[in-house]
Symmetry: none
Subunit: 245 residues, 2 copies
């Protein structure tokens, strides 16, 4: 088996609001990620507002290193993506969120970095120059206001989803539906009862009506308990008295 890929680093460059740092930490931990790094946070570090908005995530993340330059923050990374909201003329591959995560996870063994710019201005050209590729999180062109925490959330979600899909794909659906025999028994009883109650007015339509009723009820895929409930419903409607003490 292959060695596990190291956890990706999420690097916030010159983040302005502590709230957004806390939200980013919370978003990462929601998807089991903890490698958060800061470059020149405007209000210093630690930051009480970050603690307040992290919902306790900062207690679970051992330490958040602070760097003076993006270059230093990226020192151990092999491959780095810059996130931008705007399209720019840059000679770099631009990927969407999912595409970037797929691509990053195909780089087994490599340490991946995801870089986010300051809230208002985004990354500067010299920051982008340190990154290999661009991630453009596609939003409504007429209203694009993802904040920093939301951008981190979407990327963490995609990373975690794609990693999860690699291990196991389909969610197993464990309902134990009734056997064909059990279902058939309750349907036959319903049909006999309907016959007794003159439901099938026109004999030549009866077979077709029965097929339709079977189709509509079999689609429900009753389990054993539900079969019993349906028997109970038939009994109640045809007026079998319930025994009360």
């Amino acid at each position: 088996m292959t060695m596990k890929q190291p956890e990706p680093a999420f690097i916030l460059v010159r983040p302005q609001m502590g709230e957004n740092i806390g939200a980013a930490a919370r978003a990462l931990l929601n998807f089991g990620l903890t490698d958060l790094r800061l470059v020149q946070p405007r209000d210093g570090w630690p930051n009480q507002k970050a603690v307040d908005t992290s919902s306790g995530a900062l207690d679970h993340i051992p330490s958040i290193p602070v760097f003076d330059t993006l270059q230093n923050a990226l020192s151990d990374c092999h491959f780095v993506y810059a996130t931008t909201a705007r399209h720019r003329h840059m000679n770099k591959t631009v990927r969407n969120t999912a595409g970037a995560c797929e691509h990053a996870q195909s780089r087994t063994h490599q340490k991946i970095g995801f870089v986010f710019g300051p809230e208002r201005t985004g990354l500067e050209s010299e920051d982008l120059a340190l990154c290999h590729e661009i991630i453009n999180i596609r939003t409504n062109p007429d209203f694009s206001s993802l904040n920093l925490g939301q951008g981190v959330l979407l990327l963490a979600y995609e990373w975690s989803k794609i990693r999860g899909n690699k291990n196991k794909s389909v969610h197993s659906h464990t309902r134990e539906i009734a056997t064909h025999n059990e279902m058939s028994a309750v349907l036959s009883r319903l049909e006999d009862t309907l016959e007794h109650h003159n439901f099938f007015r026109a004999p030549h339509l009866k077979d077709n009506m029965i097929r339709n009723i079977r189709t509509m009820l079999m689609r429900a895929e009753f389990d054993a308990q539900e079969i019993r409930t349906f028997h109970g419903i038939i009994s109640a409607l045809i007026g079998h008295k319930v025994h009360k003490n």
Copy 2:
């Protein structure tokens, strides 16, 4: 060409904080979605805190209807997903975020509803009983603190992403199932009739039994003709005489 699928409705049930309603509106509009509905918002509506956190999204969303019950909020929906953080023993299919959006978009022509519960407590059992399936947004089992706005964001993101990918031909799901209102009417009639026939022996079990019956029959996804057939079955079983010449 097929008719375009209507935009899905995002329904917030008893949301507590205006901030989260604003964040939800902003998240939706980021992905070009605008059908946001509220059921009994704690602090009433409109709400200044929602305006403050919506980043202007509320100016772009024409109106956000407020309903007294989830049932009323869902009246025009064909197929409804409940979002839950917890796993419960419910007889409903559970999908992850992407799986649910794939599934929903295969239901061409149908109006889809995504239902979100109150921040602290999530959806009640009676809310869940009105929904066809469950969406579980998978997060870190040791730290799961997605807030309401983040949950809406992830679902809106997946919806938009899958719709974007969908220029390819996807097999269409052509059955025209009944609206929530039509289904609800026949279920209410069945419940009233069962009540009249003393089906609910123990009063303290009644709510639970009704939920189970709704769950098992909603799973069948009746179309309009099948609803009429089911009305006919009830009428026949309780002994309404069929008019013969």
